[in-house]
């Protein structure tokens, strides 16, 4: 399915054929749910949020100016909704102290196994202030494409680049404390 087909379906919906909206839902359900999931880490809530995003898209379909692709408009709408909804009802705050302890103190990379380290990185993204967290989530969701992330956030590319850089810096700071902890204690023991 292409962008032209999206446009055809939108035209059909605007002409009164509500069932044509199903094609758009089928096509974009995966990306929208996955984007929501990255924002809230809760499958049920991700589906609720994306359903609301589709409903809002349906209501404001006539406001889609065809200068950009339908997907660009849809992602911007969904991002806006996800950010404001999570501001209204935040996800359970995850602190770095809650991250699982390393299973084996002799494991590589400062005592955390790869899986635990990956989990620690993902969780620590959620401890960042919203503007940095949103930039990072969108950047990786769009396969590290700054332009797409900027369009979804409705911000200039320069701003997104600055937020990414600052967000990564903060993330490194948080992780270095987390990852260095077990290693330094190991050194002290030996």
């Amino acid at each position: 399915m292409s962008a032209a087909e999206d446009q055809i379906m939108v035209d059909r919906v605007l002409a009164g054929d509500t069932s044509a909206f199903e094609g758009l839902v089928r096509r974009w359900q995966g990306p929208l749910i996955n984007l929501a999931y990255r924002f809230c880490r809760d499958r049920g809530r991700a589906e609720e949020l994306s359903q609301e995003a589709f409903l809002r898209a349906y209501r404001s379909l006539d406001r889609w100016r065809r200068e950009s692709a339908f997907s660009t408009w849809l992602f911007a709408l969904a991002t806006n909704l996800y950010c404001s909804e999570l501001m209204r009802i935040p996800i359970n705050t995850i602190w770095l102290g809650d991250v699982a302890e390393p299973r084996d103190s002799r494991a590589i990379n400062g005592g955390l196994e790869d899986q635990d380290r990956d989990r620690a990185v993902r969780r620590s993204v959620f401890t960042l202030p919203p503007k940095y967290r949103e930039a990072l989530i969108l950047f990786y969701f769009h396969d590290m494409d700054v332009a797409s992330a900027a369009r979804s956030l409705g911000l200039p590319e320069g701003t997104v680049k600055a937020r990414l850089s600052r967000g990564r810096e903060m993330l490194r700071g948080k992780l270095s404390q987390q990852l260095a902890g077990p290693a330094s204690s190991k050194k002290e023991i030996s």
Partner: protein, 122 residues
């Protein structure tokens, strides 16, 4: 940890698959939205208030125009109101409120400018 490590971890996110009833659930909500009757504006309830507001506005307009036609219009105002205005005006001059107002406006403008500048930078 380097940027490359962060990139490789955060970009290898596993996708989740939408549940089987998701499309049906969305389409039910959409159909409901499409068939739900539009809630009309409650004109009956709003009419008394709107009429009163229009009448008050009309009266104020007529009163203003008639005052303007009579000249400066101050003679038509009650004496208590005029003396109150005089007290306010005297106090304004004594305190030097013009400069205070100017200082407040400049301060507010500089705060607003700084906030915008910082948010643009970040």
């Amino acid at each position: 940890m380097r940027d490359d490590d962060i990139d490789s971890i955060l970009s290898k996110e596993q996708d989740i698959v939408p549940s089987s009833g998701f499309v049906r659930s969305v389409m039910e909500a959409v159909q409901h939205e499409a068939t739900a009757p539009q809630i009309p504006f409650p004109w009956k309830r709003a009419l008394p208030g709107l009429s009163a507001a229009v009448l008050a506005l009309g009266w104020a307009l007529v009163a203003g125009i008639s005052l303007f036609k009579r000249g400066t219009g101050t003679e038509a105002l009650p004496a208590e109101f005029l003396s109150f205005l005089a007290v306010i005006s005297e106090a304004w001059k004594t305190v030097g409120a013009n400069w205070i107002t100017l200082a407040l406006v400049v301060s507010l403008a500089s705060v607003e400018f700084s906030r915008r500048f910082v948010s643009r930078k970040s």
